[in-house]
C-alpha cells in the first residue's frame, strides 16, 4: 500500500505543481466574472474529512482489540463522512436544486446554486480547469475509499477478521488517511492561497 500511496502522491504532486506553475505565470488568475471559491463551505468539508480520519483510526483500534461491533460502527461513520463529503462536492459543483427549494430563502438559494451555474466551466480558463481536475481527482479517491471501506466493513461484519488479522483494516485506513492528507494540501493550495 505504501508503494501505491507514493505513486499516487507523486500524481497529485504533478497536478499541484502544474497548478502552481500556471497560476504563478498568469497575470490574472481569476477571469472577470468567474466566481470566487467558497471558503466557509469547503472548511466544513475539510472538517468532515478530519472527523472521518479520527473515526477511521478508532476503527483500526477496535479491530486490533478484536471488537467487531465497534470496528463496524466506526467504519460506517467513516463511510458516512466520505459520502457527505462527496455530496458536498456535488453541491459545490452543480448545486442541489430540490434541496434548495425545500429549504427556501437565501440559504436555499445558496444550496441550489453550484459553481457551474455561476460560470465556472471546465475548459473555459486555467482557473476553472485546474480546479475541476484537482478536486474531482481527489473526489474520485474519496469515492474509491468509500467503496473500499464498504467492502472491508461488510467483511468485518461477516466476521472475516475475527482471527485477529487486522491488516485489511489497517491498509484501508492508510488509504483513507492519505485521502485526508491530500485534501489538506488541496484545500491550502486551491482554496486558501489568496489571489
Amino acid at each position: 500500500m505504501w508503494i501505491f500511496l507514493l505513486s499516487d502522491a507523486l500524481t497529485f504532486a504533478g497536478l499541484l505543481l502544474a497548478y502552481a506553475i500556471l497560476r504563478g505565470g498568469s497575470a490574472r488568475w481569476i477571469p472577470e466574472g468567474a466566481p470566487i471559491l467558497g471558503l466557509k463551505f469547503t472548511a466544513v468539508l475539510t472538517f468532515l474529512l478530519i472527523c472521518s480520519s479520527v473515526t477511521m483510526v478508532l476503527a483500526f483500534a477496535a479491530a486490533v482489540e478484536r471488537d467487531r461491533k465497534a470496528t463496524v460502527k466506526f467504519l460506517c461513520l467513516t463511510i458516512l463522512g466520505g459520502l457527505l463529503f462527496l455530496c458536498g462536492q456535488f453541491k459545490e459543483y452543480f448545486g442541489i436544486e430540490w434541496l434548495g427549494h425545500l429549504v427556501g430563502g437565501n440559504i436555499g438559494e445558496q444550496i441550489a446554486t453550484g459553481l457551474t451555474d455561476e460560470g465556472l466551466i471546465f475548459g473555459k480558463s486555467h482557473y476553472a480547469t485546474t480546479f475541476y481536475l484537482i478536486t474531482s481527482f481527489h473526489g474520485a479517491h474519496v469515492f474509491s475509499g468509500c467503496t473500499y471501506l464498504t467492502v472491508i466493513m461488510i467483511r468485518t461484519a461477516m466476521g472475516k477478521y475475527d482471527d485477529g488479522n487486522y491488516n485489511h483494516v489497517e491498509i484501508v485506513g492508510l488509504f483513507w488517511h492519505f485521502v485526508d492528507l491530500i485534501w489538506i494540501l488541496v484545500f491550502t493550495f486551491v482554496y486558501l492561497i489568496p489571489k
Binding site: 507514493l6 472538517f47 479520527v54 487486522y166 489538506i184
Partner: protein, 96 residues
C-alpha cells in the same frame, strides 16, 4: 505493517490539533492587513504541519522502521524541493 500502538487519547489530541490548525488557516486568510507573502508562508507551513500530523500519528509512520520512514519521506519531499527551486527561480527572475 507497523507494530501496534493504540493510543486513543493521542488520536483525539491530533484531531483537536487538526481542527485548531484548520481554524487558524481560515483566520490567516480572513484577517485583513497581513502581507500576502506572510499569508502564503503561514498557510504552507500550517498545511505541512497538518499533513505531517496525519502521516505520523494516524498512518502510524512514527512507529514504523527507519527504512520505511525514509522510503516514504524522501520521495514525498521531492515535489516540495522542486517547488522551492521553481519559486526561487521565479523570484530571482523578478529581482535580477
Amino acid at each position: 505493517m507497523s507494530h501496534v500502538h493504540i493510543n486513543r487519547k493521542q488520536y483525539w489530541q491530533i484531531f483537536v490539533a487538526l481542527f485548531v490548525l484548520t481554524i487558524l488557516e481560515i483566520a490567516v486568510v480572513l484577517v485583513p492587513g497581513i502581507a500576502k507573502a506572510l499569508v502564503i508562508i503561514a498557510l504552507v507551513g500550517l498545511a505541512i504541519v497538518k499533513a505531517t500530523l496525519v502521516g505520523l500519528f494516524y498512518m502510524h509512520l512514527i512507529h514504523e522502521k527507519r527504512v520505511l520512514k525514509l522510503t516514504v519521506g524522501i520521495p514525498m519531499a521531492m515535489p516540495g524541493v522542486y517547488a522551492l527551486v521553481l519559486v526561487t527561480e521565479a523570484a530571482w527572475r523578478l529581482v535580477r
